[in-house]
Structure formats: structure tokens, C-alpha cells
Amino acid sequence: MTESVFDTRDRIRAGELSAAAAAEEALRQVEAVNPQLEAATDILREDALAQAAEIDRRLGVGEEPGPLAGIPFTVKSNICTLGGRTSAASRIIEGHVSPYEATAVRRLREAGAVCVAKTNLDEFGMGSSTENSSIKVTKNPWKTTHVPGGSSGGAAALCSATRGMLHLGSDTGGSIRQPASYCGVTGLKPTYGRVSRYGLLAFASSLDQIGPLQHSALECALVLQAMAGVDRMDCTSRDVEVKDYVESASRDISGLRIGLAPELFPEGVEAEVRESVERGIEVLRGLGAEVKEVSLPNARYANPAYVLVSAAEASSNLARYDGVHFGHRSKNAGDLVELYKSSRAEGFGPEVKRRIMIGTFVLSSGYYDAFYLKALKVRKLIQQDFEKALGEVDAVICPTSPITAFPIGERMDDPMKLYAVDVLTVPANLASLPALSMPCGLSGEGLPVGMQIYGRQMEDDVVLRIANAFQSETDHHLRAPGVNAWDGGGGA
């Protein structure tokens, strides 16, 4: 079974498939793989079938339900939807049902898409393995003893094991691209400001961005086209023309200049990963791309700067979870300050507490200049590095993660070991650039390897175009994992 989102769309348009049947099929797939993968936190059967029936009604009377009419989609559980829980996989808002919906979700619904499930994540997006979830640990469909990556691990695992749906994730330091890499799918972190963040539970507001995880760059382009654009509810969303991303991604890449920076192939990159990415670059060269070396001298400082900046912003953003407005409220508190302290202590998981503490520390009097301000200055240097490099080339290519998916539990004893896998993805967030991960091979163990493409701000189309050219020439993105929704409902 290799049905793409475009096939689903076209069959619904042609009247060969009803939106209700498409929703049923999506629900069947999610229900088939979820017992093994634990990727979906909420399966929204009733809501989905009601929405699909409405799309069918509109199609039946000749109305235009929108460009995504009847296409099923899933949403990461830190993005607000009107149906299902928006729990952020945190005890502090475990049963939370949002009273409003995210702009990105609303735009997909208004384009006719049908929400079928919410997906698992690391609590508030803090993690790279989906092990830091208060709900459950998601498994990698290629090898269920291994992590799917994170924090959008639920979306990546579900995307990998199913077909014909759209999946929304969020990316603060790699949380779309790294799980996409580990699960063998294509994930795009759009340019900062390309997609409204309204309704995304804020982790680090200057780094967060919503984006798609799909089976191809063209599917990502379709989702981006529907979500992108300025929004009065997010003053950091940018009023820049929304291109026809599907059309622009379909153009060829001859003459495009691709940069390789030795700093983005550091020592810690496993040999198998390096070799797969290098073979991928040869494919692009064969398609007419010109490959040259560029320099990003400060890239090695990106992860330490990210650790400080993201924690600082998190400590401020998560102050809103106070036991008063929503979520968990401690039963063991006398006065108001005790209520805050007890509710937060009982509600937040260990990694979230670590980040809040580090963030509060670097923002506190006496340490602000030495840590937070220093990190912001380093962020500026990294941004300048990319400006210079992307003045010489149209895109920069590197591995998405230094390693492939690792065994569940392997990196949980030491948070620093988990932070280390983000080194090649965080620069895109610090510099506000679009970046995409796509599969480019399998390791000896049979685990997917991801290749990453960085582009210039607001040139998401160029990134998608390079990925689509690669996928037109290769079949890595079409390979299916052992656990999938069509081999007897979820194989080995």
C-alpha cells in the first residue's frame, strides 16, 4: 500500500472515495498500529466521522469544501484543538481540553481536512525521544525496542506506519526533524514566522515553529501551503507572500548551489550516517546541483547557546501553569504561593523542572549577563555565519542527527547525553531558518538515516525543491517499517 495524500485527495475529488470512508480508513490504520507504537494519545473517532460527514454533505450539494477536502490529519498534543486533549503529555494539564484552536489547525480544517487523532510527545516538547511523556513511551515502527526520536515522536511513528494522512508537529530545537529522521519520514521546520504559533503551547517562543511530518517533500509542501501566512493572533507571523509550494517544489535543481560545512559533520557523527548523507549529496550532484564547501565557524557553539536560550524562555512561558487557570491544582496548599509551588511540583516532570530551574538561574540577577546575554550574542554570531554561507550557496546540507534511533532507556540516565543528539538541528532554530529532514538510507541495523537541508529565511520552497528532486530520483522515502498498518494490521 503506497497511497499518498495526493491519491486520497484526488479520489475524494473524483467521487471514488467519500470523506467518511477516508476517515474510517485513517482511523483503522491508527487503531491497527497504536497498540504496538503507542503513538496516538487520543483517537477522535466520533468527531472525525462527524466532520467527514459534513464534508461529504458539502461535496454532495456541489459546495467547495477546500483544497484538502476529506484528508485526515493528526495533531501533536501541544497544539490546541477543540476535540481531544491538549495535554502536552504533562500531568499538570493532563485532561486539558482547549477552549480554542490553533490557527494552523483551523486553517487545515477550513481547507476541508478532518482531525482524527492527537499524538504523543515529550512533555511540553522537551526531549528527543518521546520518553519524557506523562502518558506513555512511543515506540519506533522500524524497531519497537528503540525510540522514535522526539519530541514529535508520536507524529513521526504514526506517519511512518500509516499512509494518506497529514501530521502536525512542532520544532524548537529539532523536534520535527530528528524524529522524522529516526522514523524514516520527511519533516519540515518552516522559517520562523512562516506559520502562526497561535495555539501552540509555548516552550521557547523565539524558536518554536509548527510544521508537517509526511512521506514526501511534496506532501509537506501541500500542508505548508494550507497553514502558512500572517495571523493577527501571532505578531511574529510574517506578512510574506504564501507561494504555491507544491508547484515550486516540483521544479528541477540544476544550477542550484549546495554548501557543505565541515562544522556540520563533526566527529560524533556515526560513519554509517556520514556515508549515507554523502551518497545523498552525490545524487543531488547528479541532478545538476553544484556542490561547494562553506564555513560555519561558530556552529559548534549552537547547542550550548540553545540549552541556555530555550531554558530561559521555557522558565518564563511555563510560569502560566499555576494551579489556578487550568490543569492540576494541589490539594496540599495553604496560601497562594504554596498553591503555586505545590501544584507545579506535583504537575511537572523531571526534565521540565530541570529546564525551568536552569532558565530561572540564567535569568536571575547576577547571572543574566554571563549566561543569557552571552548566549544571545553567540546566537547572533551563528546567525551571521549562516547569512554569509547562504550568500554563497542556496542551501546547506548535513546529517539530521549524528546517530540513528537508540534503544529506549539508553540515554535517560543522563540528560546531557540526550541534549547531545540535537547538535545538528538547533542551529536552524537559533537562526530562524527553514530546515527539512528526509530519509537517505538505512543503517546496518535497518534503522533510517536522515539528511538535512537548511535554506534561507522564507525560502522554504527551495528546501522543498531540493528534497523533492532527491525523492524523484530515489526510493528511500517509500520504504516501509516492520510495524505498519497494511501488513495484517501491524507486523513484527
Binding site: H96, V97, P99, Y100, Y192, G193, S206, R232, T236, R238, N298, Y301, P304, V307, L308, S315, D322, G323, V324, H325, F326, R329, G334, L336, L339, K341, R344, A345, F348, P350, K353, R354, I356, M357, I358, T360, F361, S364, Y367, D369, A370, F371, L373, K374, A375, L376, K377, V378, R379, K380, L381, Q383, D414, P415, M416, Y419, L430, A431, S432, Q457
Partner: protein, 118 residues
Amino acid sequence: MSGASRASITEERNMSIEVTDELVGKIAVLSRLNLTPEEIAGLKEHFEKVLEYVGELQELDTDGVDPSLFTTETSNVLRPDEGAPSLDNETALRPAPESEPPYFLVPRIVGDAESSES
């Protein structure tokens, strides 16, 4: 003392920050988190590791570099100050763990008549 020289003194000083229970405890109060002694001990170790990890940032000369908060060209986005519908009171209160419409409920924050006299 100028801002710049104060910053450089702080930068030098941070090279040898001693992470004590007291420091971690103070940050916990600022973070509004009740922590157990085991959590304090774990966080102390974590602080030491993070400080070591980010220590290499000090190698970089950042004198005269503008700190970057946002890296896009956008600044000061203005729009007309026009009213628009927002959540009604009942909907906004729905997720609250305790409420007394139209209010969120919190513990008493000022003492009653007796305790304020004492």
C-alpha cells in the same frame, strides 16, 4: 560603573560558580517549585554539568556583538486597536480546577480581620 565593565566582571566570575544547596534552593523559590532533598541533589549535579557544558561559550569573544532576541527583520508589528470577539467568561473558566463564576478561585491572599490585627 558602566554596564560593559560590570558584564565583564560577571563573565570572569562565572568561571568558578560554586553550585550549593543554597543556590539551588533559592532558584527553586524563584521558580515556584517545591523540591524534595533528592530533587535538590539531582539538580545540583545537573547545574554543574550544564555549567561545564556551556563553559565553552566563554571562549568566544563577543565584545561589541548585538545580542539577538529575534533574528527576523520584523519589529514593532502594529495594528489598529479594534475590539474583536474573544472567549466568553463561561468558556474561559471551563478548564479552571476551581472557579466561582465569573471568577477563578484562589486561596485567601490577605489575612482575615483577626490575623491582620495580630
